[in-house]
Subunit: 287 residues, 4 copies
């Protein structure tokens, strides 16, 4: 399987012989492989300041049939763009010893949090807190590996008194929630590679309806980020075969804390009602 | 509200005047406040090597009506033993400025992970991986703030081919799952302060049926830990009003990685089937 | 096991020797066994026009230790008050032959519908339709055997544009929904023998909060009916070991039809949005 | 909108002038409009004993551009093939008065049950009971209006001790369940017009894996019936805008009764365990 390095090396060694306009493409591609993994030929052309035809010729000079073939090679280079089965196969070529699993898993998670805090813009964070505070109704969407942060967010918002609904599976329940979205509502969509088609369709529907959209995702060029008013990129590295939602859990916790500090009286009133309801149902071991 | 320090200080200043047997109780209580927060008078007496009557007299010497009153004071000293409303009230006396929420939330989470890795015993971890590997059927239980790690665990186990069921709410669905548990099955119960009565009842039922029990919880003396064959203590600090399940998400990720490295062929076969099913349903944006 | 007839026979044969005031109790009990199965001693005394002491003496004259013991005998007389295991044991003494299961099951269901239509008061039906039409928010609650009609109602209401939420399990999700109920909201609670404690607690909470309550249940003296503003009694006979929610499904369908005829424009607008959302997600085989 | 009668009338008035081979098609179409609503041109040709070209010429003789256009006209003729919005629009041209809603709804339901009992073949019923009895694992699938009978079936099977799982929404959860299906398992899929794409894909996947399939649906030519080993057709008429799952609820109750009579000891043991679990959790108002 090609590594990200492989495509870069290929471009680098071909670089000196490229015509000037293709050199512009070459530089852009090497510096923006993540973007190229998702962008159309027109987008790459525009960013690189050349024509689409030049981008295609660049691909052919490198020996690819066309732009999609270069793009596929770049995607293959990112382990996060593999299927889970491909990822595990790669992991198994140099598996972590069982004694080291714990240490490596937790150190990967510390890095996930450290990288993510650098990726979060405090101004965007505050703006998103504003949007959540004033939304008429909030819909949280996240399935599969994104269901845990989606549930954590919706549960926490419900506990502190927000009008929130959550959908962790697609199909009919999601369609019914979408059909009820109105301007003034807020959609918070959580999704990581491999992006689910329905998550993207959800963002698109919300945009058409005029609903504000927050995305919690794993790349600035993820389709969810591109459809969002406010996008939060979290790092999702895992030593296992899949991606980890851990950093998004940290982000959700920060959102919930900021929201409760922002409107303390409403939050306290809501928490006290929840305590009353828990007591009424005798749910807790210690009252 | 009394702080944990307050009770310690009270005991320390009374210490020199205590009779010898009460000094044994005093030392034990100061050193084991978490344990005392949950233990019965008989348990404290046994651990301290004195009679139950001595423990009661010690409480009265300090000015408490009896053991439950000392215990209540100790519990009050731990912010994690407050209701969520009480916690938020305390936070609001010295709220984190909105600019600092992100930084403090993420640094709290890094500490959660660092502390938790020290609390996990690798031998117990491997033993739990063994139990999960050989279980005839696995039931994962976790509600409220514990639902996200419960879902993350059950989803990940299902994806790599384990026979797992999950219950994130109590009542009828939980009772039906319990009624079907058999020896050879495995229960993984996730719960943090404030412990839900049904989570504890679930562990007790499983013990009676002869089902192996793993607990992911927040204290060695939590009722879930005490009913478990294998208990994993995670740190759950949050700058908000509630507790954070973040470290348990990290632990679950480590479990899933260890399980997939342990039986790579079965895992790969399961992942490939899931990929096929996703493709068949055209679920993914990129096949 | 005592039959309902058994207690009646016992009272009838003792009748002539009873003092006059106990005769009043005797007549009331024979005529209102369903009511007595749930009523307190004070309620029976009041309805029969005697003192509570007279009711107790009546019980003792018949040979029962007290009122609860008479009540228990009456309950045993109704097969619907048995546990499901007891019901099945009774069924198995004279099982339906497999060839007759289909015919008997369907003829029991026709009777369920015929009896239920006689039990529904059209005026109460229209009043309930009014309440649903004007509710600010609707919470539908039903677990176990009541989950199917609860889901059918909430799904149908959501499709035609009502602001509805549903809880089909107890515990935390139900408590959170309860904590958010406000005056102006509407609770629709569905529950049959054996009544779940949480369903009753839900009705009680809603009453305290000042929320209008509709019950769909199986007896006018069911605890849900007694806590409701509008109670609908459906017949739940089944040839199997449990009760059947079939007649409640019929009732729900009537509610949904009446609601859509009541506000056709809103209904059409909602249905068209749902169709759009289904098409957008390509959910249907035939667009 | 064309009525079913309209197409029949059109064919009837053209009949005498048709060539002999097209008369064969004409007769087949008039007698089998439901089949034609779904069948391919090849299937109609084969059933009518003519060539596909003859079927196409027949359509053109009637004035349709081709076979799909005749098929569309036939579908339009069935109100059950309308979208829910179209159905409601038609209903509103002659709405049921609110006073009559209850009576008409319940009499429609009695007819649903009467028609359905005639449509169920007792031999197929017993064969399906056999399959459920011996399945290694049972997956029940039904979304939207089919979720209530799906839940009723899975809950009832779980209570009497069957190894059953249920999926009431599509997307990831359904795909994960499908990925785990093995020969020896049983799929019970419930779906009515408008058929959901994922329900059909589920049946197809199960067939490829070699899993036995039971369909509960609304027409012998529904795509679910065509993919099933055992198909049960229920009538789904409703006075409202949608279809009613009521008759399928009756069918499920018959299945559950037959299964509990078939293996009384296992059923009783399971019911007693459920009673124990309910008592342990103190779920019931009356123990």
């Amino acid at each position: 399987m090609a590594s990200a390095q492989a495509v870069s090396d290929q471009i680098t060694s071909a670089f000196s012989n490229l015509p000037r306009s293709q050199k512009l493409v070459a530089r852009f591609v090497v510096d923006n492989q993540y973007f190229v993994a998702f962008a159309s030929v027109a987008e790459v052309a525009q960013k690189a300041g050349v024509s689409a035809a030049t981008v295609v010729r660049f691909c052919q000079t490198l020996g690819y049939e066309g732009y999609p073939h270069l793009q596929a090679a770049i995607r293959q280079g990112f382990s996060r763009f593999m299927t889970t089965a491909q990822r595990l196969e790669e992991r198994l070529t140099a598996p972590v010893s069982e004694d080291d699993v714990l240490a490596q898993a937790f150190s990967t998670d510390i890095n996930n949090i450290k990288y993510t805090i650098e990726l979060i813009d405090p101004v965007t964070f505050r703006a998103a807190v504003d949007e959540i505070s004033r939304a008429a109704a909030i819909l949280v969407v996240g399935g599969g590996i994104s269901a845990p942060p989606a549930l954590f967010l919706s549960h926490s918002l419900q506990v502190i008194g927000f009008p929130v609904r959550v959908v962790t599976s697609g199909g009919i329940p999601l369609s019914l929630e979408l059909s009820a979205l109105k301007p003034g509502d807020l959609l918070i969509c959580i999704g990581f590679w491999r992006y689910f088609r329905e998550a993207v369709a959800t963002m698109r529907w919300a945009r058409e309806v005029g609903v504000t959209r927050i995305a919690i995702t794993d790349s600035e060029v993820s389709p969810l980020a591109q459809l969002a008013d406010y996008a939060f990129v979290t790092t999702t590295d895992s030593i296992g075969h899949s991606v980890s939602p851990l950093a998004s859990i940290a982000l959700v916790d920060a959102f919930v804390a900021a929201l409760s500090f922002r409107r303390p009286e409403k939050t306290l009133a809501a928490l006290r009602k929840v305590d009353m309801a828990y007591n009424e149902s005798n749910l807790l071991l210690e009252g």
